[in-house]
């Protein structure tokens, strides 16, 4: 029976690499099964489990992915797996979090700035008081 090479990669690491006779992937529009010599196909996959039939083994190999992209070529299959659970809303929430972090750090800066200003004002006031003391002494 013919085989195909399967690679599951993510940004952080190579998750799986090996031969397979048959693969089932949770595509966005429903599960798809791929045999060797499949026509080139590109599709997104949902978070789920990849099932593979591996030559010389009755057990299926299972690889869990949190979504990503499936690229099918006649003799090899690449899964570009996401490392984090993704979604429009979730990404949006993360973006807001990052913005908030930036604003917060700036907030601290203004706090530091106002502290510095207060310190400077205090120094001026002390200097003025000292000058007054000095003048009083001279008058007496």
């Amino acid at each position: 029976m013919s085989k195909m090479h399967v690679e599951v990669v993510s940004t952080e690491q190579l998750i799986y690499s090996g031969e397979a006779e048959f693969l089932v992937a949770p595509a966005l529009e429903g599960e798809i099964g791929v045999y060797p010599r499949h026509v080139p196909l590109l599709t997104r996959i949902k978070p789920g489990v990849l099932r593979m039939t591996v030559p010389g083994s009755k057990e299926e190999v299972l690889v869990a992915v949190s979504g990503g992209m499936l690229e099918v070529q006649p003799t090899h299959i690449t899964v570009l797996a996401d490392t984090a659970i993704r979604g429009e809303d979730l990404d949006e929430a993360r973006a807001n979090e990052a913005k908030r972090a930036a604003e917060e750090s700036l907030q601290h800066a203004t706090d530091d700035l106002s502290t510095a200003k207060a310190h400077a004002a205090l120094a001026v006031a002390i200097a003025q008081l000292k000058a007054l003391d000095y003048l009083k002494k001279r008058v007496h």
Partner: protein, 288 residues
């Protein structure tokens, strides 16, 4: 005899410092190997995404994705500044910041406004000092680069670019060349330069798309950019550990030299004291 008690105290304090720097050196030596492995592990993904993306772009030349749009006039630019969270790593961050400030100055001279996205504590501090507009930031990144932490800040920038608020996006980080050499690197992320889109061997076949080419393209472009930034962060972390190891080794060696010199001074002082005492005794005996 209490000769040179201050010197002994000093020696002890330098020895304590040396213990710390030596420990830090060993810690970063062991971390360095791991960070380098991680840096390499990130490469296959970026390469694969780039190939698929290039192919897709070639098969569908007229894909009008907002992230691929080119702008003729640059009015506002985004810069992603990558730094370490902690200090004590020699001139690593300073060198990156110099490269960054040079670019900022160049852009400001062309009347380009700048938004900065900071990755790492030191970058945030540097941008505050320079009074730059920080639109997004991620700190406390740890020793392992995590995609999870990058998605937020990047989404902010890419969204702005897609909406036309930003006309270019750059990234500044410390590139890892080898253990002794790290080089501040500036790259243009957006608009994508044509060299990103070259396929080595062009075929006349095309994929079947599910659901359709444009939405897949959007997905790929995003993932590609994210992987580039991830790679930059991983490289910056490897550089950080290498720089820290070298800096701490130098510090340990310096501490050793200082101790040697102090010992010499101490011994001399002690010997001088003994000699004086002896000559006093001899003089005293001679007088009697």
């Amino acid at each position: 005899m209490a000769v040179g008690k201050e010197i002994l105290t000093k020696i002890r304090s330098v020895q304590n410092t040396q213990k710390i720097t030596r420990a830090m050196q060993m810690v970063s030596t062991s971390k360095m190997r791991k960070t380098q492995e991680r840096m390499r592990a990130a490469r296959p993904y970026a390469e694969k995404v780039r190939t698929v993306m290039a192919h897709l772009a070639q098969a569908n030349a007229d894909l009008g994705h907002p992230l691929l749009a080119r702008r003729d006039v640059v009015k506002r630019a985004g810069i992603i500044l990558v730094s370490s969270d902690k200090g004590l790593c020699g001139g690593l961050n300073v060198n990156s910041f110099k490269r960054f400030y040079a670019k900022v100055k160049e852009l400001q001279e062309q009347d380009v406004e700048i938004d900065v996205c900071c990755l790492g504590q030191k970058a945030v501090a540097a941008c505050q000092r320079a009074r730059l507009n920080v639109v997004a930031s991620a700190v406390q990144l740890g020793d392992v680069p995590k995609m999870d932490k990058l998605i937020g800040p990047l989404t902010v920038l890419f969204k702005q670019y897609a909406e036309g608020e930003l006309d270019a996006v750059y990234i500044v980080y410390s590139g890892f060349i080898n253990t002794m050499k790290q080089e501040p690197t500036l790259e243009q992320l957006l608009p994508l330069t044509p060299q990103h889109m070259v396929v080595e061997h062009s075929h006349s076949w095309d994929y079947l798309y599910e659901p359709d080419a444009p939405s897949l393209m959007e997905f790929l472009v995003k993932r590609y950019l994210e992987s580039v930034v991830y790679q930059a962060l991983a490289e910056n972390m490897a550089s950080e550990q290498a720089a820290r190891m070298v800096a701490m080794k130098a510090a340990t060696d310096n501490a050793g030299n200082t101790i040697k010199q102090l010992r010499l001074v101490y011994n001399k002082a002690r010997q001088a004291a003994i000699t004086t005492e002896l000559s006093e005794i001899v003089a005293g005996a001679a007088a009697v």
